[in-house]
């Protein structure tokens, strides 16, 4: 019996992968196997969610070295008889996906936001043409590497039936030396987790106006975010607050978009929000078409009034 293997170096994303793996495994009568590399805590977490966990302990397998992780997972696939591997489509996972697919001779899709099993095919949705379209694609073949967008699926709940076994893998010495890892300090923004995002775009007149926008974000119980030019061209905000194709893809309950025109490279990062409010002085701005509530007005005035109204 073939199987499906999941791997992510991040505990939470690994639990999300279990959910997706469950969909596929159920349809095929397979079982879900999970590889954990040098991470005893994750073994426990995944086994608690009902996965058959294979614990790989080998200091030569560094998460920073996609090549070695790929070799380790290839060995795991062979020993565990798995033809489909699910990875998280964060930066580490996406880098690994291509490498692993090549090692396995597998087809590969990354940035998958939805999965549907259609007979023999696993239909995956992902953005295409820079986000202008959403493509439904599948891999025609047995060997598949699928990388799933973080937070697209709920983490798997606790369930019985889990187990933990050791798995030996051999990898060559790593050609990457990790010199330093600087974790983001906890005060930095985590816009992907925020229930509310207030997003500033190029309609914002000056950096000074950000204070009022941030205050609005706080009043709404959320975080301040921005479109790419505000971070990369104007440098008014750090890049970890950028929403869009090359920034974060967020699904808050509420997104308030201020002075955003609505280029697809941006909207692809926010179009899954539950409720979207757009404020833009240009009535023809595309953003009004993808908003639940839209105001054709000067954003500075609206921010002031909203701050007063919510005070």
């Amino acid at each position: 019996m073939a199987g499906i293997l999941i791997y992510s170096d991040k505990d939470k994303l690994a639990r999300e992968l279990l959910t997706v793996a469950g969909l596929i495994a159920d349809a095929r009568g397979w079982e879900v196997k999970a590889a954990c590399i040098n991470n005893a805590r994750q073994c426990q977490l995944l086994s608690a969610a009902g996965a058959r966990v294979y614990q790989i302990e080998n200091p030569a397998v560094l998460p920073a070295d996609a090549a070695n992780v790929a070799v380790a997972l290839k060995e795991a696939c062979g020993k565990l008889d798995c033809s489909i591997v699910l990875l998280s489509s964060d930066r580490r996972g996406r880098e690994l996906a291509g490498r692993l697919a090549q090692v396995l001779g597998a087809g590969c899709l990354t940035d998958i936001s939805a999965v549907k099993v259609e007979g023999e095919q696993i239909h995956c949705q992902r953005n295409a043409l820079g986000g202008a379209t959403v493509a439904t694609q599948y891999i025609d073949g047995e060997k598949q590497v699928l990388a799933i967008v973080p937070r697209a699926f709920a983490p798997a709940p606790d369930r019985d039936g889990g187990s933990i076994d050791e798995l030996q893998v051999e990898v060559p010495p790593s050609r990457i030396k990790l010199l330093e890892f600087q974790a983001k300090d906890s005060s930095s923004a985590n816009i992907e987790e925020a229930p509310v995002l207030v997003v500033a775009g190029q309609g914002l007149n000056s950096q000074e106006d950000l204070a009022a926008v941030e205050s609005l974000a706080q009043k709404l119980g959320g975080e301040l975010a921005c479109s790419k030019p505000l971070a990369t061209d104007k440098k008014w905000l750090p890049e970890d607050r950028v929403i869009g194709l090359s920034g974060k893809k967020c699904q808050p309950d509420l997104a308030v978009l201020l002075g955003i025109s609505g280029q697809v490279q941006f909207t692809v990062g926010i179009r899954d929000a539950r409720v979207i409010v757009a404020v833009n002085s240009d009535e023809n701005a595309y953003i009004h078409q993808m908003a639940d509530y839209s105001m054709v007005a000067d954003l500075h005035q609206i921010v002031k009034e909203l701050n007063d109204a919510l005070a």
Binding site: S281, D282, E283, N284, V296
Partner: protein, 381 residues
């Protein structure tokens, strides 16, 4: 006939647009208010070869032809008429040296010119000449290996920058109008305060005073008495610049009016929904497209001038059209803005003031039309 840009042409256009939007546009209001172009903008333009586009590489140019020059200048002029005017006058001066200079003169003056270490001037107009070269009173007296120049030139672009100036004077021995290359800042060279003009601020016009300025005899441009053909070609080349500056202004008028029409609302509707506004936008587009293809064609013609007289008539036609056209376009765009269009906070206010310059410099529109008419009537006659 193929009206598509080549890949190179569209890259030149994109490059100039990117530079204009990133580096000039943010300073455009300041340039207008202070009548001065920041050093770093000139340096940035120099780095991109925008001061030597049509000239051969051996003289420091980019070998991009006048078609490349027109494409780049249009984008610069769209964001700042003053910067465009500086670029136009400079390129015209270099164009005269390129066409008539000796090998030594080209090496000496074009290389630093193309690299914008020098900003070049072209000085013909005098307080008493108007557009009639016969009235030139500046004199050049031969004295050994030098000519001694005396006289006053009026409304000279770029006279405030160091570099070469092509200057027209009456050589006293022959009594003929003759061109010289003069080093600005030579002893005896002085300038007035810049004229305070209505628009294109930053492109400064100054009066130039020459008192016993010693010009080496080697700096004679062309031959003694060759002043008229040099002037004819120089002014014709200059019209590529002034026409394209007007084209850029027309594009600015179209873009500003369209932007305003989409953003400004009346009774909850953007004014772009009203047919009265839509008709104006269409008129602006027509004005832009007609001027655009005239200028692009003129640029192509300038790459290979076989008959300077014929080219001068072509240039006069384009200049007559584009100069008046930009004024009409700016006026329509101001209309779209209503009263707001008169306010300094709105870009169109500056575009309008810049536009007025168009028909008046480098020969007024009526002069151009006379040149066009005479070329037609003469050839048929």
């Amino acid at each position: 006939m193929d009206f598509n840009l080549s890949k190179e042409q569209s890259l030149i256009q994109q490059m100039a647009r990117e530079f204009a939007e990133k580096s000039i546009a943010p300073a455009a209001k300041q340039i207008d208010e202070e009548s001065k172009i920041p050093e770093e903008i000139l340096a940035g333009m120099a780095e991109l070869d925008l001061f030597g586009i049509p000239f051969p590489e051996e003289y420091g140019g980019a070998d991009g032809g006048y078609d490349g020059y027109v494409l780049a200048m249009e984008q610069i002029a769209k964001v700042s008429g003053g910067v465009a005017m500086t670029m136009a006058a400079h390129t015209l001066g270099l164009g005269a040296i390129s066409a008539f200079g000796t090998e030594e003169q080209k090496k000496k003056y074009m290389i630093p010119g193309c690299k914008a270490k020098h900003i070049v001037s072209f000085a013909f107009t005098e307080p008493g000449t108007g557009s009639d070269p016969k009235q030139i009173t500046t004199t050049a007296v031969k004295q050994g290996d030098f000519y001694i120049l005396n006289g006053t030139k009026r409304f000279i672009s770029n006279a405030n920058y160091p570099g070469a100036m092509v200057v027209f004077a009456r050589e006293t021995e022959s009594g003929e109008v003759t061109a010289f290359i003069l080093d600005k800042w030579a002893e005896g060279y002085s300038i007035s305060e810049p004229w305070e003009k209505i628009g294109m601020h930053g492109g400064q016009l100054l009066d130039v005073y020459m008192k016993d300025v010693k010009v080496p005899a080697d700096n004679l441009l062309g031959k003694i008495g060759q002043g008229f053909p040099i002037l004819l070609l120089g002014i014709a080349l200059g019209k590529i610049g002034t026409s394209t500056a007007a084209l850029g202004g027309t594009l600015a008028a179209l873009e500003e009016a369209s932007k305003y029409a989409r953003e400004k609302t009346h009774r909850g509707q953007p004014i772009a929904k009203f047919q009265a506004i839509q008709l104006k936008i269409a008129d602006l587009a027509i004005k832009y497209e007609t001027a655009r293809w005239l200028c692009y064609r003129l640029g192509c013609l300038a790459n290979d001038i076989k008959d300077p007289g014929k080219f001068a008539a072509e240039a006069a036609l384009v200049k007559a059209y584009c100069g008046d056209n930009v004024v009409d376009a700016a006026r329509i765009a101001v209309d779209v803005h209503g009263s707001y269009g008169l306010m300094r906070d709105y870009t169109i206010e500056r575009v309008y003031r810049d536009a007025i310059i168009g028909p008046e410099i480098e020969g007024v529109a009526d002069m151009q039309k006379l040149i066009v008419a005479s070329s037609i009537l003469r050839s048929k006659g």
